[in-house]
Symmetry: C2
DNA sequence: CCGAGTCTTTGAGACGATTCAAAAGAATCT
DNA sequence: AGATTCTTTTGAATCGTCTCAAAGACTCGG
């Protein structure tokens, strides 16, 4: 019931607290006999080291905060798993926080993590430039931006979203689509803006032959995708786009559901391509084409950069790692269309 | 850069550390003038309270550990979100840990959480009776079992899985199926065993008219569901079941993919019903029938019980809350079959 | 048996915030 | 003014662990 401390262990093993601490942290400098005695005492008492006190003394925590935009998006879960697998090897811990795209929640989580004096924070910020993050860094908490470009104050890992958007756009154009809709928002989210910019440039490269519509969304959720899908399905056929590029797979899934419920065929009546290539994309009603991001690698790399910075704060130079996205073609955009 | 402490704040505000602490914790007992001065000093220095030191002194943490079987299963993400929403209102924090169905990982996470002296732990244990959990409780960390039956040592919240299995079985039988396969495993997971027991009892109630096959799986993943699906699809039509009850929606999704890739129609050639009713079930290639569990409510209730126990450890009586599952019929089991 | 050199063990401060008894200061009443 | 009460502020002790200088115990060569 009562939690034991190092002192009780020391008493039972008839050694000083310093020795117990040594057994715990540098067992090799303690004589085997003493070490054994201490281990027995620990076992007998059911002693569990108080990491809080240790942390207070040592000043460095072994946990890393990861603040993501949306835990219910499997993309971020995969990123988190990537980060966690690296953390595991450094016996640290990742605590996953969900900002749910809300600045207030994001800030609360950052406050909490800073108060806990975490080793560092990985974050996919809600807004591009957040004074909170900058202050955090200024006060000494290392931060790595995930799936977001750095401002120079920190490291970052990202995937080239502009390129992704361009690839998606080019693919749809190559498939003969001349009326394409970008489904996503808000544009204040950097990733969304970039993907939009990418598809815009692909459309521009087609020299006026292709028309780009844009529907703005407030959140990148299945529900929002469905809602927009409903509106699109309701359009008269000649005003309707023939293809939709959704800012992420969640939206694409929702959009797809709306098509189905309105009896529109995918890809015959309307082709869809999503973004992220989450595992569920392949299992969708119509298997979803998507732009694949190296999800786990993103998380892995982010925490690598953080650990690097923590290990050698002095000679650390902030870096920006950028990965390339891939096009994954599935049924939802498989059809070639007569232009 | 250097993190400030209460002492520096006290110096700048020309008060004692005690007063600063009071401003932080019981501002109402400090005179307005002093309070203001302290706030200014805090702001000027960019002081952030060290929660670690606070915790050490106070002895009570504000964080709760949640250890789940599989973060990539949206079911658990929803449970986590339920828990988090309650934690938010009590300004505590939920840290989400993934055992990934592995006893070793589970134990490492529990150790870490105990060392951090978390307020309590919510856990979906890998194995039914874990000595680790019992020791944890014996040493004083409150535990609530989630989606798992209690042993009397702790509170628990769960959904009646046996009933769920029964409902699923009865539904398939009512739809005319006479050869049903249970897809799932391992049976060491209580939920799986119960769902299996449920469908078994439904089949038994049909008085020998219905045959129940069981395919055992090692993990409850999409990949495993797909693998089993492949094997089932390869069976000669007369040996093949006409319906599959999958232990969760992840498996059902994988199973469904295998059917599609082998040209088997769902539900015509084979009906499928899953379990959990995760959001993606409705968006599947063939919208998936499923047994719905109150996912968020599960998380909410679990943490409620924990907070209750922490608030009044003395007069707390452990409780077991059990919810009822619901049948959600979608296309994957919609067809009536001539028996 | 002494002294130098190795190994081990010791124990008194930190670390940063909270607490609480007691002191100091203000306000009120005679 | 002095006594009494109420409000604020103080600062030393405390939480559990780590660190490190220094003491103690041993070994070994001379």
């Amino acid at each position: 019931m009562a939690t034991r401390n190092i002192k009780e262990v020391a008493q039972l093993a008839r050694v000083s607290v310093g020795t117990v601490s040594n057994v715990l942290n540098r067992p090799e400098i303690v004589s085997p006999a003493t070490r054994e005695r201490v281990f027995e005492a620990i076992k007998k008492l059911g002693f569990v080291r108080n990491e809080v006190a240790r942390h207070l003394r040592v000043g460095r925590s072994r946990t890393v905060g990861l603040v993501v935009l949306d835990v219910s998006n499997p993309f971020f879960v995969d990123v988190a798993q990537g980060a966690e697998s690296v953390a595991d090897d450094h016996d640290s811990m990742v605590v996953l926080c969900n900002s749910a795209g809300d600045t207030g929640r994001e800030r609360r989580h950052l406050d909490q993590l800073e108060q806990q004096r975490v080793m560092g924070i990985l974050i996919t910020p809600v807004e591009m430039e957040s004074p909170w993050v900058e202050e955090l860094i200024a006060r000494g908490t290392p931060v790595v931006l995930v799936d977001s470009p750095a401002t120079g104050l920190q490291c970052s890992v990202a995937v080239d979203d502009r390129l992704g958007g361009q690839i998606a756009g080019a693919h749809l154009i190559e498939r003969g689509h001349r009326r394409i809709m970008f489904v996503g928002g808000p544009m204040s989210i950097k990733q969304v803006a970039d993907r939009h910019a990418g598809v815009t440039s692909a459309v521009a490269a087609a020299d006026g032959a292709v028309e780009l519509l844009t529907s703005s969304a407030h959140t990148l959720t299945v529900a929002e995708g469905r809602a927009i899908g409903e509106r699109v399905a309701a359009l008269p056929p000649d005003e309707r786009p023939t293809a939709a590029f959704c800012a992420n797979d969640m939206m694409a899934l929702g959009f797809l559901q709306a098509m189905a419920s309105h009896g529109l065929r995918v890809p015959e009546d309307l082709a869809i391509i999503g973004y992220d290539d989450i595992d569920f994309a392949a299992a969708a009603a119509v298997p979803l084409s998507s732009i694949r991001q190296p999800r786990e690698l993103l998380g892995r790399t982010a925490i690598d950069l953080l650990l690097e910075e923590v290990a050698e704060p002095e000679q650390h130079r902030h870096r920006q790692v950028i990965f390339q996205p891939d096009l994954v073609i599935r049924e939802s955009s498989a059809l070639r269309r007569d232009a």
